[in-house]
Symmetry: C2
Subunit: 391 residues, 2 copies
């Protein structure tokens, strides 16, 4: 990448993060009455739903703390992060340590814990906020949540379930991914802890079991023995999820100076773009049946903002770690498609959900799944990668 | 409607039912090894998933038994219906009487009961099959399932749940609808039972509580006191569901000779088409926020086959029960749009899921939600309505 291109990308990421994305969330999402954040925000930022999704509370608190720590040391980010941290600590933990999926605006439980998603982002938020404030109590709490989450990801217990136990179980790509993502973050916030072996095992689980190099695909669900069941779930690829896993693994290989780990992560990136890139309309498809059978999800061919955020991070990482020109071409192609379709030129921030042809399907800026996270995280990670590329 | 038009519609419904739809399901869905029906069928009928969804087993067994009873007394329909009945009785009931949501192809439980949907269609299937065969044991079983279902719909218990009890509860349009639908069917299969009061109460619940004549809308979810919570669920309209409820209520008014019930059902039909008809591309939208805020569901603007089947039935009913010309115009508009977009000219039957613009989103003929039910039921009900219009 030319230094001119690096400079221009840096300017754009910084400007979008600090001048567009964060102002949108600071202005519209903060609940000044009960604490925490609204995330059901319409196009113009108006609140269309007041329930609070626990993982989005953690994600926003992490984002704001990280911006404070790494990008822009302004009090408003720290203060607003604190509102999320307090809400998490006060309302979102069940007595047994599990975290609810959602609560009312004033913190009454709505949906029971059903996966470690809430815990994983609470852990990140607590650790990052502890780094910003030096609050050792918060760091201790983050360590406890991390331990709990690892235990529950391995041996689910205490979760609300509607599946019948024992008939069929899948190993989910999401499980080693949340462990790897959280472990890598904990390592930077808690230098005394022994996170490297945890990250290594999670990266191995992702690249060993879920990646099938014969079929050149990453599978979301595996049978317990690692085989691929011939079911819609067993054939499912989620290219955005896979490229997110790819950059987690690149980061792992980068930190441990492990070129073979990086090489395998680059394979994942290449295959996932091969499977996911929509040759008809451009952009990355959300869900694909690897054998070309019909996916179960009605939204399979939609274009989601986060898929594109994750691909842009993964491709910048690939540019940094590999000399090959193809990654820069892919990066430019994905970024160009994303910028042509996702940004809302009227009210700022990005739309989250487009039809296959790139037209806007949902006007919302946030909801149950979209909050202040993937887009700003893309900017944050990109700025640090571009900074290394410049040097 | 002119008698020529009635004749042509009759021919088309009959031909599509017996010459296209039923042959497709008889050929591709029957599991000759384990009994029951596959419903995950791709465009050409090939099986892409082998799990069995309990409510779709009941729906297909009902459809085939009803065709045998009312349209075409061929042994193949009865025999194939029996395979579904046997599968339901052998594998789909939990010990406490609740029915699973899904099981494996050989009948091992996969997903726990979470609503009375499975029971409601098993009840219909058992009763209709009892009518075909004179099997009193089956009718007794249908009566028991109907009683259980009514109890559970009123006071949910024994269901797998992930919501936290007590914080928020909704009254769901689906609850009185399944009761009304099943009660009306039971009445024809079990003339000795006292179903009329049950149907009347359910119709009153639908038209009284869920229909808001000031806002000219039918609401899917109500607060326990009947008010409309200002939440995405509280603002949700499902026009296809509402028009289905409308024809159940027209049928009720028709049977009880109650013009005021019919008049209110016609209002529901008119308002739901007003809310649901897509002025941009034609067809009926799946889910709409009555206040124009963003719906929570990514698939909100898709066009689903069943929505259009239900609207066609409701509009034919309206033509029969009301002299107003507008219903025939609406009927023709909806049928024309449906026929221009849903039928698969290559492999027969209808696609289930279209994008907003009418292009095919999913190639599948069936899955977890689409089976041998809405399309053939439209034909079956239409044939009986057209028969009455002719006389």
């Amino acid at each position: 990448m030319t230094s001119r291109r690096i400079r221009r990308l840096t300017d754009w990421h910084r400007e979008s993060l600090l001048g567009d994305v964060l102002p949108f969330w600071l202005k519209h999402s903060v609940d000044r009455k009960h604490g925490g954040y609204f995330t059901c925000l319409d196009r113009d930022g108006s609140v269309y739903g007041r329930d609070k999704y626990v993982w989005l509370q953690g994600r926003q608190a992490w984002t704001l703390s990280r911006v404070y720590n790494e990008i822009d040391r302004k009090e408003k980010y720290l203060e607003t992060a604190r509102r999320g941290i307090d809400f998490l600590l006060r309302y979102c933990f069940r007595r047994d340590g599990h975290m609810y999926f959602s609560v009312t605006e004033d913190g009454r439980p709505l949906v029971q814990p059903w996966w470690v998603g809430s815990e994983s982002f609470a852990c990140l938020a607590l650790a990052e906020h502890a780094k910003a404030t030096g609050d050792v109590g918060l760091l201790r709490r983050a360590r406890k949540v991390f331990r709990d989450m690892r235990r529950w990801a391995k041996k689910p217990s205490g979760f609300a379930r509607i599946d019948f136990p024992g008939t069929r179980s899948y190993r989910k790509l999401a499980d080693p991914m949340v462990i790897l993502g959280a472990s890598q973050e904990m390592e930077t916030a808690d230098p005394t802890g022994a996170y490297a072996p945890v990250s290594r095992a999670a990266a191995r689980e992702i690249l060993g079991a879920h990646v099938d190099s014969t079929r050149r695909a990453v599978f979301e669900y595996l049978a317990p023995d690692g085989s691929h069941p011939d079911t819609p779930s067993g054939r499912l690829a989620n290219p955005g999820h896979a490229v997110e896993a790819a950059w987690f693994c690149m980061r792992e290989g980068d930190r441990r100076n492990d070129p073979s780990l990086i090489a395998r992560a680059l394979d994942v990136l290449e295959w996932s773009l091969g499977i996911g890139w929509d040759r008809r309309h451009g952009g990355i498809l959300y869900l694909v049946d690897v054998d070309g059978k019909p996916p179960e999800h009605l939204e399979w061919d939609m274009k989601l903002w986060w898929t594109h955020n994750e691909a842009i991070i993964a491709l910048l990482y690939a540019c940094l770690l590999s000399g090959e020109r193809k990654w820069e071409r892919w990066h430019d192609r994905v970024l160009e498609w994303a910028l042509a379709h996702f940004p809302d030129r009227r009210y700022g921030e990005w739309f989250g959900y487009l039809h296959r042809d790139g037209s806007v399907a949902l006007s919302a800026k946030g909801g149950m799944w979209k909050g202040c996270f993937h887009l700003p995280r893309m900017h944050i990670v990109a700025l640090s990668l571009l900074d290394r590329m410049r040097r």
